[in-house]
Protein backbone atom coordinates (compact mmCIF):
# COMPACT_ATOMS: atom_id res chain seq x y z
CA UNK A 1 0.00 0.00 0.00
CA UNK A 2 1.40 3.40 -0.98
CA UNK A 3 2.48 5.91 1.65
CA UNK A 4 3.74 9.48 1.51
CA UNK A 5 7.05 10.37 3.12
CA UNK A 6 7.50 14.06 3.85
CA UNK A 7 10.59 15.74 5.27
CA UNK A 8 9.24 18.90 6.86
CA UNK A 9 10.74 22.35 6.97
CA UNK A 10 10.95 23.46 3.34
CA UNK A 11 9.46 26.88 2.61
CA UNK A 12 7.27 26.47 -0.46
CA UNK A 13 7.95 28.77 -3.38
CA UNK A 14 6.64 28.48 -6.90
CA UNK A 15 3.71 27.95 -9.17
CA UNK A 16 1.35 25.03 -9.55
CA UNK A 17 -1.61 24.34 -11.81
CA UNK A 18 -5.04 23.59 -10.41
CA UNK A 19 -6.61 20.43 -11.80
CA UNK A 20 -10.21 20.20 -12.88
CA UNK A 21 -12.71 19.69 -10.08
CA UNK A 22 -13.67 16.06 -9.57
CA UNK A 23 -16.98 17.09 -8.01
CA UNK A 24 -17.85 18.99 -11.17
CA UNK A 25 -16.41 16.42 -13.59
CA UNK A 26 -18.41 13.47 -12.21
CA UNK A 27 -21.90 14.96 -12.71
CA UNK A 28 -20.86 16.41 -16.05
CA UNK A 29 -19.71 12.98 -17.19
CA UNK A 30 -23.04 11.54 -16.05
CA UNK A 31 -24.83 14.30 -17.98
CA UNK A 32 -23.24 13.15 -21.24
CA UNK A 33 -25.87 10.36 -21.09
CA UNK A 34 -28.45 13.01 -21.94
CA UNK A 35 -26.89 13.98 -25.25
CA UNK A 36 -27.62 12.47 -28.61
CA UNK A 37 -24.27 13.69 -29.91
CA UNK A 38 -20.62 13.59 -28.91
CA UNK A 39 -19.52 15.54 -25.83
CA UNK A 40 -15.86 16.53 -25.51
CA UNK A 41 -14.73 17.29 -21.98
CA UNK A 42 -11.42 18.90 -21.08
CA UNK A 43 -9.73 19.74 -17.77
CA UNK A 44 -10.85 16.41 -16.34
CA UNK A 45 -8.62 15.42 -13.39
CA UNK A 46 -6.67 12.19 -13.44
CA UNK A 47 -8.33 10.44 -10.50
CA UNK A 48 -9.64 6.97 -9.82
CA UNK A 49 -13.29 8.07 -9.53
CA UNK A 50 -13.04 9.49 -13.05
CA UNK A 51 -11.86 6.17 -14.47
CA UNK A 52 -14.55 4.37 -12.44
CA UNK A 53 -17.17 6.69 -13.98
CA UNK A 54 -15.75 5.97 -17.43
CA UNK A 55 -16.06 2.27 -16.72
CA UNK A 56 -19.65 2.75 -15.58
CA UNK A 57 -20.56 4.79 -18.67
CA UNK A 58 -18.80 2.22 -20.84
CA UNK A 59 -20.91 -0.56 -19.30
CA UNK A 60 -24.01 1.43 -20.22
CA UNK A 61 -22.84 1.50 -23.83
CA UNK A 62 -21.37 4.99 -23.99
CA UNK A 63 -18.39 5.05 -26.35
CA UNK A 64 -15.50 6.82 -24.66
CA UNK A 65 -12.10 7.88 -25.84
CA UNK A 66 -9.34 9.77 -24.07
CA UNK A 67 -7.16 12.04 -26.15
CA UNK A 68 -3.57 13.18 -25.66
CA UNK A 69 -4.56 16.12 -23.50
CA UNK A 70 -6.59 13.84 -21.27
CA UNK A 71 -9.77 15.16 -22.81
CA UNK A 72 -12.67 12.72 -22.82
CA UNK A 73 -15.05 12.22 -25.74
CA UNK A 74 -18.31 10.56 -24.78
CA UNK A 75 -20.81 9.33 -27.34
CA UNK A 76 -24.07 8.18 -25.75
CA UNK A 77 -26.01 7.75 -28.96
CA UNK A 78 -26.05 3.98 -28.68
CA UNK A 79 -26.64 3.23 -25.02
CA UNK A 80 -27.29 -0.48 -24.55
CA UNK A 81 -28.07 -0.79 -20.83
CA UNK A 82 -29.74 1.25 -18.09
CA UNK A 83 -28.23 -0.71 -15.22
CA UNK A 84 -25.51 0.62 -12.91
CA UNK A 85 -24.22 -2.54 -11.20
CA UNK A 86 -23.34 -2.87 -7.52
CA UNK A 87 -19.73 -3.81 -8.22
CA UNK A 88 -19.08 -0.30 -9.59
CA UNK A 89 -21.51 1.69 -7.46
CA UNK A 90 -20.06 0.29 -4.23
CA UNK A 91 -16.68 1.84 -5.06
CA UNK A 92 -18.10 5.27 -5.81
CA UNK A 93 -21.25 6.72 -4.28
CA UNK A 94 -21.40 9.39 -6.99
CA UNK A 95 -22.63 6.64 -9.35
CA UNK A 96 -26.15 7.58 -8.24
CA UNK A 97 -25.70 10.56 -10.60
CA UNK A 98 -26.56 8.37 -13.60
CA UNK A 99 -30.08 7.80 -12.22
CA UNK A 100 -31.60 11.11 -13.39
CA UNK A 101 -30.06 11.15 -16.88
CA UNK A 102 -30.88 7.49 -17.63
CA UNK A 103 -34.48 7.90 -16.54
CA UNK A 104 -34.95 11.19 -18.38
CA UNK A 105 -33.51 10.02 -21.68
CA UNK A 106 -34.37 6.32 -21.79
CA UNK A 107 -37.41 6.13 -19.53
CA UNK A 108 -35.78 3.57 -17.25
CA UNK A 109 -32.92 3.29 -14.79
CA UNK A 110 -31.77 0.46 -12.51
CA UNK A 111 -29.10 1.81 -10.22
CA UNK A 112 -27.61 -0.14 -7.37
CA UNK A 113 -27.49 1.57 -4.01
CA UNK A 114 -23.99 1.90 -2.60
CA UNK A 115 -23.08 -0.38 0.29
CA UNK A 116 -23.90 0.94 3.72
CA UNK A 117 -26.46 3.31 2.30
CA UNK A 118 -29.63 2.36 4.12
CA UNK A 119 -32.65 3.42 2.19
CA UNK A 120 -34.31 6.01 4.30
CA UNK A 121 -31.03 7.85 4.56
CA UNK A 122 -32.13 11.30 3.57
CA UNK A 123 -29.83 12.27 0.72
CA UNK A 124 -30.79 9.31 -1.51
CA UNK A 125 -34.43 9.72 -0.56
CA UNK A 126 -34.37 13.26 -1.85
CA UNK A 127 -33.23 12.05 -5.29
CA UNK A 128 -36.03 9.47 -5.36
CA UNK A 129 -38.73 11.80 -4.02
CA UNK A 130 -37.79 14.42 -6.58
CA UNK A 131 -38.11 11.92 -9.43
CA UNK A 132 -41.46 10.75 -8.03
CA UNK A 133 -42.61 14.38 -8.00
CA UNK A 134 -41.79 14.44 -11.72
CA UNK A 135 -44.08 11.46 -12.28
CA UNK A 136 -41.62 8.58 -12.13
CA UNK A 137 -42.48 5.25 -10.64
CA UNK A 138 -39.62 4.46 -8.27
CA UNK A 139 -39.13 1.21 -6.37
CA UNK A 140 -36.26 0.06 -4.20
CA UNK A 141 -35.79 -3.68 -4.36
CA UNK A 142 -32.87 -5.99 -3.73
CA UNK A 143 -30.48 -3.12 -3.25
CA UNK A 144 -31.43 -1.46 -6.53
CA UNK A 145 -33.38 1.67 -7.36
CA UNK A 146 -35.71 0.83 -10.24
CA UNK A 147 -37.15 3.96 -11.84
CA UNK A 148 -39.54 4.13 -14.77
CA UNK A 149 -41.27 7.01 -16.56
CA UNK A 150 -42.65 7.49 -20.06
CA UNK A 151 -41.57 11.09 -19.99
CA UNK A 152 -40.84 13.00 -16.81
CA UNK A 153 -43.17 15.91 -16.10
CA UNK A 154 -42.01 19.28 -14.83
CA UNK A 155 -42.81 19.87 -11.17
CA UNK A 156 -42.06 22.14 -8.25
CA UNK A 157 -39.99 20.26 -5.70
CA UNK A 158 -38.80 21.53 -2.33
CA UNK A 159 -35.75 19.67 -1.07
CA UNK A 160 -36.03 19.26 2.68
CA UNK A 161 -32.28 19.48 3.04
CA UNK A 162 -29.59 20.96 0.86
CA UNK A 163 -27.91 18.23 -1.19
CA UNK A 164 -25.44 18.83 -3.97
CA UNK A 165 -25.80 15.48 -5.75
CA UNK A 166 -29.57 15.56 -5.24
CA UNK A 167 -29.77 18.97 -6.89
CA UNK A 168 -27.56 17.78 -9.73
CA UNK A 169 -29.48 14.55 -10.32
CA UNK A 170 -32.85 16.31 -10.42
CA UNK A 171 -31.54 19.15 -12.57
CA UNK A 172 -30.30 16.62 -15.15
CA UNK A 173 -33.59 14.71 -15.06
CA UNK A 174 -35.63 17.90 -15.42
CA UNK A 175 -33.59 19.05 -18.41
CA UNK A 176 -35.46 16.55 -20.63
CA UNK A 177 -38.80 16.66 -18.78
CA UNK A 178 -42.02 17.96 -20.23
CA UNK A 179 -42.61 21.46 -18.84
CA UNK A 180 -40.97 23.52 -16.14
CA UNK A 181 -39.35 22.14 -13.00
CA UNK A 182 -38.50 24.37 -10.06
CA UNK A 183 -36.05 23.05 -7.49
CA UNK A 184 -36.39 24.90 -4.20
CA UNK A 185 -33.78 24.84 -1.43
CA UNK A 186 -31.28 23.79 -4.08
CA UNK A 187 -27.55 23.53 -3.41
CA UNK A 188 -25.69 26.68 -4.46
CA UNK A 189 -22.23 25.16 -4.89
CA UNK A 190 -20.14 26.25 -7.89
CA UNK A 191 -20.08 22.64 -9.10
CA UNK A 192 -23.89 22.83 -9.51
CA UNK A 193 -23.43 26.00 -11.54
CA UNK A 194 -20.79 24.29 -13.68
CA UNK A 195 -23.16 21.42 -14.44
CA UNK A 196 -25.95 23.86 -15.31
CA UNK A 197 -23.61 25.68 -17.69
CA UNK A 198 -22.67 22.40 -19.34
CA UNK A 199 -26.34 21.41 -19.70
CA UNK A 200 -27.19 24.82 -21.16
CA UNK A 201 -24.37 24.38 -23.67
CA UNK A 202 -26.10 21.15 -24.69
CA UNK A 203 -29.33 23.06 -25.25
CA UNK A 204 -30.97 22.90 -21.82
CA UNK A 205 -32.86 25.90 -20.45
CA UNK A 206 -31.75 26.28 -16.85
CA UNK A 207 -31.73 29.50 -14.86
CA UNK A 208 -31.04 30.30 -11.24
CA UNK A 209 -28.16 27.83 -10.72
CA UNK A 210 -26.06 29.26 -7.90
CA UNK A 211 -29.19 30.36 -6.04
CA UNK A 212 -31.46 28.21 -3.92
CA UNK A 213 -34.21 28.24 -6.57
CA UNK A 214 -33.35 26.64 -9.90
CA UNK A 215 -35.78 26.81 -12.83
CA UNK A 216 -35.49 24.21 -15.57
CA UNK A 217 -37.59 24.45 -18.70
CA UNK A 218 -37.51 20.93 -20.16
CA UNK A 219 -36.53 20.44 -23.80
CA UNK A 220 -37.11 17.60 -26.28
CA UNK A 221 -33.46 16.77 -26.86
CA UNK A 222 -29.95 17.76 -25.87
CA UNK A 223 -27.02 17.87 -28.26
CA UNK A 224 -23.33 17.07 -27.83
CA UNK A 225 -20.99 19.92 -26.94
CA UNK A 226 -17.45 20.82 -25.84
CA UNK A 227 -16.82 21.85 -22.26
CA UNK A 228 -13.90 22.58 -19.94
CA UNK A 229 -14.55 21.46 -16.35
CA UNK A 230 -14.12 24.18 -13.71
CA UNK A 231 -10.96 24.24 -11.58
CA UNK A 232 -10.84 22.42 -8.25
CA UNK A 233 -11.39 25.07 -5.58
CA UNK A 234 -10.50 22.76 -2.69
CA UNK A 235 -7.24 21.65 -4.28
CA UNK A 236 -6.47 25.31 -4.98
CA UNK A 237 -7.21 26.23 -1.37
CA UNK A 238 -5.04 23.40 -0.06
CA UNK A 239 -1.94 24.66 -1.94
CA UNK A 240 -2.61 28.21 -0.74
CA UNK A 241 -2.85 27.06 2.89
CA UNK A 242 0.41 25.16 2.38
CA UNK A 243 2.06 28.45 1.38
CA UNK A 244 0.69 30.16 4.47
CA UNK A 245 1.82 27.38 6.80
CA UNK A 246 5.37 27.17 5.44
CA UNK A 247 5.82 30.96 5.34
CA UNK A 248 6.25 30.67 1.59
CA UNK A 249 4.82 31.96 -1.65
CA UNK A 250 2.64 29.89 -3.95
CA UNK A 251 0.81 30.92 -7.07
CA UNK A 252 -1.95 28.60 -8.26
CA UNK A 253 -2.80 29.06 -11.90
CA UNK A 254 -5.71 27.89 -14.06
CA UNK A 255 -8.01 28.55 -11.12
CA UNK A 256 -10.62 31.14 -10.14
CA UNK A 257 -10.53 33.49 -7.16
CA UNK A 258 -14.31 33.95 -7.19
CA UNK A 259 -14.72 30.31 -6.12
CA UNK A 260 -12.77 30.87 -2.92
CA UNK A 261 -13.96 34.14 -1.40
CA UNK A 262 -14.43 32.78 2.13
CA UNK A 263 -11.12 30.92 2.09
CA UNK A 264 -9.13 33.88 0.78
CA UNK A 265 -10.69 36.11 3.44
CA UNK A 266 -9.48 33.71 6.14
CA UNK A 267 -6.01 33.53 4.62
CA UNK A 268 -5.80 37.34 4.71
CA UNK A 269 -6.98 37.23 8.33
CA UNK A 270 -4.16 34.77 9.01
CA UNK A 271 -1.69 37.41 7.81
CA UNK A 272 -1.09 36.22 4.27
CA UNK A 273 -0.71 38.62 1.40
CA UNK A 274 -3.24 37.39 -1.13
CA UNK A 275 -3.26 38.63 -4.69
CA UNK A 276 -5.40 37.48 -7.57
CA UNK A 277 -5.58 37.92 -11.32
CA UNK A 278 -7.15 36.41 -14.41
CA UNK A 279 -6.94 32.68 -13.74
CA UNK A 280 -4.53 32.79 -10.80
CA UNK A 281 -4.30 33.29 -7.04
CA UNK A 282 -1.10 33.93 -5.10
CA UNK A 283 -0.46 33.69 -1.37
CA UNK A 284 2.75 35.21 -0.05
CA UNK A 285 3.45 34.76 3.65
CA UNK A 286 6.83 36.52 3.46
CA UNK A 287 8.39 34.16 5.97
CA UNK A 288 5.94 35.03 8.73
CA UNK A 289 4.12 32.65 11.04
CA UNK A 290 0.35 32.70 10.42
CA UNK A 291 -2.15 33.94 12.98
CA UNK A 292 -4.84 31.50 14.19
CA UNK A 293 -8.25 32.12 12.62
CA UNK A 294 -11.76 31.17 13.73
CA UNK A 295 -13.67 29.09 11.19
CA UNK A 296 -17.27 28.03 10.90
CA UNK A 297 -18.22 25.77 8.03
CA UNK A 298 -21.51 26.13 6.15
CA UNK A 299 -22.83 25.48 2.65
CA UNK A 300 -21.54 27.66 -0.19
CA UNK A 301 -20.88 30.58 -0.35
CA UNK A 302 -19.78 30.32 3.31
CA UNK A 303 -16.60 28.59 4.38
CA UNK A 304 -16.46 25.09 2.80
CA UNK A 305 -16.41 22.02 5.02
CA UNK A 306 -13.84 20.53 2.66
CA UNK A 307 -11.30 23.21 3.75
CA UNK A 308 -11.90 22.78 7.49
CA UNK A 309 -9.19 20.20 8.11
CA UNK A 310 -6.58 22.26 6.26
CA UNK A 311 -7.32 25.29 8.46
CA UNK A 312 -7.08 23.08 11.57
CA UNK A 313 -3.58 22.24 10.37
CA UNK A 314 -2.83 25.93 9.86
CA UNK A 315 -4.14 26.82 13.31
CA UNK A 316 -2.06 24.06 14.86
CA UNK A 317 1.16 25.95 14.10
CA UNK A 318 -0.25 29.50 14.14
CA UNK A 319 0.23 32.27 16.65
CA UNK A 320 -2.62 32.25 19.16
CA UNK A 321 -5.70 30.10 19.56
CA UNK A 322 -8.87 29.73 17.49
CA UNK A 323 -11.99 27.64 17.20
CA UNK A 324 -13.09 25.63 14.21
CA UNK A 325 -16.80 24.84 14.16
CA UNK A 326 -18.08 22.13 11.81
CA UNK A 327 -21.76 22.53 10.98
CA UNK A 328 -22.06 20.50 7.78
CA UNK A 329 -20.90 16.98 8.64
CA UNK A 330 -20.63 15.05 11.88
CA UNK A 331 -17.47 13.28 12.98
CA UNK A 332 -15.21 15.35 10.79
CA UNK A 333 -12.32 15.89 13.21
CA UNK A 334 -10.52 12.58 12.73
CA UNK A 335 -7.47 14.49 11.52
CA UNK A 336 -7.20 16.25 14.89
CA UNK A 337 -6.40 12.97 16.65
CA UNK A 338 -3.60 12.24 14.19
CA UNK A 339 -2.28 15.80 14.41
CA UNK A 340 -2.19 15.50 18.19
CA UNK A 341 0.30 12.70 17.65
CA UNK A 342 2.46 15.25 15.87
CA UNK A 343 2.31 17.60 18.85
CA UNK A 344 -0.70 19.71 17.88
CA UNK A 345 -2.74 21.16 20.73
CA UNK A 346 -6.30 20.54 19.54
CA UNK A 347 -9.22 19.83 21.83
CA UNK A 348 -12.53 18.59 20.46
CA UNK A 349 -15.80 19.57 22.10
CA UNK A 350 -18.75 18.29 20.09
CA UNK A 351 -18.59 19.91 16.69
CA UNK A 352 -15.95 22.44 17.73
CA UNK A 353 -12.17 22.04 17.63
CA UNK A 354 -10.19 24.42 19.82
CA UNK A 355 -6.70 24.82 18.40
CA UNK A 356 -3.80 26.44 20.25
CA UNK A 357 -0.90 27.02 17.92
CA UNK A 358 2.42 25.45 18.88
CA UNK A 359 5.86 26.61 17.71
CA UNK A 360 6.50 23.39 15.86
CA UNK A 361 5.03 20.00 15.09
CA UNK A 362 7.14 16.88 15.21
CA UNK A 363 7.05 14.11 12.64
CA UNK A 364 5.22 10.89 13.39
CA UNK A 365 3.76 7.98 11.44
CA UNK A 366 0.14 8.95 10.86
CA UNK A 367 -2.84 7.46 9.12
CA UNK A 368 -5.12 9.13 6.62
CA UNK A 369 -8.76 8.57 7.54
CA UNK A 370 -10.59 10.44 4.80
CA UNK A 371 -9.80 12.68 1.88
CA UNK A 372 -9.62 16.10 3.53
CA UNK A 373 -8.17 14.74 6.77
CA UNK A 374 -5.36 13.30 4.67
CA UNK A 375 -4.68 16.64 3.04
CA UNK A 376 -4.33 18.25 6.47
CA UNK A 377 -1.81 15.59 7.47
CA UNK A 378 0.24 16.38 4.38
CA UNK A 379 0.17 20.05 5.37
CA UNK A 380 1.20 19.17 8.92
CA UNK A 381 4.00 17.00 7.55
CA UNK A 382 5.31 19.90 5.46
CA UNK A 383 6.04 21.94 8.59
CA UNK A 384 6.86 19.16 11.09
CA UNK A 385 10.40 18.53 12.26
CA UNK A 386 11.60 15.25 10.81
CA UNK A 387 10.11 12.70 8.44
CA UNK A 388 6.35 12.16 8.51
CA UNK A 389 5.05 8.92 7.03
CA UNK A 390 1.39 9.04 6.01
CA UNK A 391 -0.32 5.70 5.59
CA UNK A 392 -3.53 4.87 3.68
CA UNK A 393 -3.04 7.64 1.16
CA UNK A 394 -5.57 6.12 -1.20
CA UNK A 395 -7.89 8.61 0.47
CA UNK A 396 -5.71 11.46 -0.84
CA UNK A 397 -5.49 9.91 -4.28
CA UNK A 398 -9.26 10.07 -4.56
CA UNK A 399 -9.24 13.84 -4.56
CA UNK A 400 -5.78 15.19 -5.34
CA UNK A 401 -4.30 14.77 -8.79
CA UNK A 402 -0.52 14.12 -8.53
CA UNK A 403 -0.22 15.64 -5.07
CA UNK A 404 3.39 14.65 -4.45
CA UNK A 405 4.55 15.91 -7.84
CA UNK A 406 2.80 19.22 -7.36
CA UNK A 407 4.20 19.76 -3.86
CA UNK A 408 7.66 18.71 -5.05
CA UNK A 409 7.41 21.35 -7.81
CA UNK A 410 6.89 23.91 -5.05
CA UNK A 411 10.03 22.78 -3.22
CA UNK A 412 8.57 20.31 -0.73
CA UNK A 413 10.59 17.23 0.10
CA UNK A 414 7.93 14.62 -0.47
CA UNK A 415 7.82 11.25 -2.15
CA UNK A 416 5.57 8.26 -2.56
CA UNK A 417 6.88 5.03 -1.06
CA UNK A 418 5.48 1.54 -1.54
Amino acid sequence: MDKLLISGGARLDGEVRASGAKNAALPIMAATLLADGICSLTNVPHLRDITTTMELLGRLGVQLTVDERMGIQADAREVTSVEAPYELVKTMRASILVLGPLLARFGAADVSLPGGCAIGARPVNIHLDGLRAMGAEVRVENGFVHARAKRLQGARFVMDMVTVTGTENLMMAAALADGETVLENAAREPEVVDLAQFLNRMGARISGAGTDSIHIQGVERLAGTDYAVMPDRIETGTYLVAAAMTGGRVRVRDTRADLLDAVLMKLREAGAQVSTGEGWIEVDMQGKRPRAVDIQTAPHPAFPTDMQAQFCALNSIAEGAATVKETVFENRFMHALEMQRMGADIRIEGNVAICRGVERLTAAPVMATDLRASASLVLAGLVAEGDTLIDRIYHIDRGYDNIEEKFATLGAVIRRVH
Binding site: H46, T51, L64, T65, V66, D67, E68, M70, Q73
Partner: protein, 123 residues
Protein backbone atom coordinates in the same frame (compact mmCIF):
# COMPACT_ATOMS: atom_id res chain seq x y z
CA UNK B 1 -19.02 1.80 -52.49
CA UNK B 2 -16.28 3.68 -54.34
CA UNK B 3 -16.58 6.47 -51.78
CA UNK B 4 -16.13 4.00 -48.93
CA UNK B 5 -13.03 2.49 -50.58
CA UNK B 6 -11.54 5.95 -51.07
CA UNK B 7 -12.28 6.78 -47.44
CA UNK B 8 -10.62 3.57 -46.30
CA UNK B 9 -7.56 4.25 -48.43
CA UNK B 10 -7.30 7.76 -46.98
CA UNK B 11 -7.55 6.38 -43.46
CA UNK B 12 -4.85 3.84 -44.19
CA UNK B 13 -2.56 6.63 -45.32
CA UNK B 14 -3.08 8.28 -41.93
CA UNK B 15 -1.71 5.28 -40.06
CA UNK B 16 0.42 2.37 -41.17
CA UNK B 17 1.99 -0.71 -39.67
CA UNK B 18 4.98 -1.90 -41.69
CA UNK B 19 7.69 -4.52 -41.30
CA UNK B 20 11.18 -3.03 -41.24
CA UNK B 21 13.08 -6.24 -40.57
CA UNK B 22 12.11 -9.75 -39.45
CA UNK B 23 10.21 -9.41 -36.20
CA UNK B 24 10.57 -5.62 -36.21
CA UNK B 25 7.67 -3.37 -37.15
CA UNK B 26 6.93 0.29 -37.01
CA UNK B 27 3.65 2.00 -36.41
CA UNK B 28 3.34 5.43 -37.99
CA UNK B 29 0.71 8.13 -38.07
CA UNK B 30 -2.39 8.81 -36.05
CA UNK B 31 -3.55 6.20 -33.54
CA UNK B 32 -7.12 7.43 -33.11
CA UNK B 33 -10.69 6.18 -33.35
CA UNK B 34 -10.95 6.67 -37.13
CA UNK B 35 -7.65 4.89 -37.93
CA UNK B 36 -7.96 2.01 -35.47
CA UNK B 37 -10.22 -0.22 -37.63
CA UNK B 38 -7.78 -0.09 -40.52
CA UNK B 39 -4.81 -0.71 -38.22
CA UNK B 40 -6.65 -3.58 -36.58
CA UNK B 41 -6.99 -5.20 -40.02
CA UNK B 42 -3.30 -4.62 -40.77
CA UNK B 43 -2.35 -6.08 -37.36
CA UNK B 44 -4.55 -9.13 -37.88
CA UNK B 45 -2.91 -9.76 -41.28
CA UNK B 46 0.51 -9.39 -39.70
CA UNK B 47 -0.19 -11.82 -36.89
CA UNK B 48 -1.69 -14.30 -39.34
CA UNK B 49 1.45 -14.08 -41.47
CA UNK B 50 3.62 -14.68 -38.41
CA UNK B 51 1.55 -17.72 -37.51
CA UNK B 52 1.85 -19.06 -41.05
CA UNK B 53 5.62 -18.54 -41.31
CA UNK B 54 6.31 -19.54 -37.76
CA UNK B 55 9.43 -21.62 -38.59
CA UNK B 56 11.29 -18.70 -40.06
CA UNK B 57 9.88 -15.92 -37.91
CA UNK B 58 10.96 -15.25 -34.36
CA UNK B 59 8.34 -15.69 -31.66
CA UNK B 60 9.14 -12.27 -30.32
CA UNK B 61 7.82 -9.24 -32.16
CA UNK B 62 8.61 -5.61 -31.56
CA UNK B 63 6.64 -2.62 -32.70
CA UNK B 64 8.35 0.75 -32.72
CA UNK B 65 5.90 3.48 -31.71
CA UNK B 66 8.16 6.48 -32.28
CA UNK B 67 6.29 7.34 -35.48
CA UNK B 68 2.94 7.74 -33.71
CA UNK B 69 2.11 11.41 -34.07
CA UNK B 70 -1.35 11.56 -32.55
CA UNK B 71 -3.15 9.19 -30.26
CA UNK B 72 -6.18 8.48 -28.13
CA UNK B 73 -7.40 5.70 -25.88
CA UNK B 74 -8.80 3.99 -28.96
CA UNK B 75 -5.17 3.36 -29.90
CA UNK B 76 -4.45 1.95 -26.46
CA UNK B 77 -7.38 -0.43 -26.91
CA UNK B 78 -5.84 -1.56 -30.21
CA UNK B 79 -2.43 -2.20 -28.64
CA UNK B 80 -4.07 -4.21 -25.86
CA UNK B 81 -5.96 -6.24 -28.47
CA UNK B 82 -2.72 -7.00 -30.31
CA UNK B 83 -1.02 -8.07 -27.07
CA UNK B 84 -3.98 -10.33 -26.36
CA UNK B 85 -4.03 -11.86 -29.84
CA UNK B 86 -0.28 -12.36 -29.86
CA UNK B 87 -0.39 -13.92 -26.40
CA UNK B 88 -3.01 -16.44 -27.56
CA UNK B 89 -0.66 -17.40 -30.41
CA UNK B 90 2.32 -17.76 -28.09
CA UNK B 91 4.01 -14.68 -29.51
CA UNK B 92 5.79 -12.21 -27.24
CA UNK B 93 4.78 -8.77 -28.51
CA UNK B 94 6.53 -5.70 -27.14
CA UNK B 95 6.24 -2.02 -27.93
CA UNK B 96 9.17 0.34 -27.77
CA UNK B 97 9.82 4.08 -28.06
CA UNK B 98 6.54 5.09 -26.46
CA UNK B 99 5.57 8.68 -27.28
CA UNK B 100 4.96 10.54 -24.03
CA UNK B 101 1.34 11.36 -24.85
CA UNK B 102 0.49 7.75 -25.64
CA UNK B 103 2.16 6.55 -22.43
CA UNK B 104 0.17 9.15 -20.50
CA UNK B 105 -3.12 7.84 -21.87
CA UNK B 106 -2.08 4.30 -20.93
CA UNK B 107 -1.30 5.53 -17.44
CA UNK B 108 -4.68 7.31 -17.21
CA UNK B 109 -6.29 4.03 -18.20
CA UNK B 110 -4.21 2.09 -15.62
CA UNK B 111 -2.87 -0.33 -18.22
CA UNK B 112 0.87 0.50 -18.14
CA UNK B 113 1.52 -2.91 -16.60
CA UNK B 114 -0.38 -4.82 -19.30
CA UNK B 115 1.52 -2.96 -21.98
CA UNK B 116 4.84 -3.22 -20.10
CA UNK B 117 5.55 0.46 -20.61
CA UNK B 118 7.93 0.84 -17.70
CA UNK B 119 10.02 -2.12 -18.83
CA UNK B 120 10.10 -0.73 -22.36
CA UNK B 121 11.24 2.69 -21.17
CA UNK B 122 13.90 1.41 -18.83
CA UNK B 123 14.92 -1.61 -20.86
Amino acid sequence: MRHRQAEQAATERLATLTEISPGQFELKGALILSTVPSLARQGARLLKAVRTKRDSTPLALEIDLSGVKRSSSAGIALLLDWVDQAGSDGIDLQFRNWPEALARIASFSNVEGLLRIEAAQHG
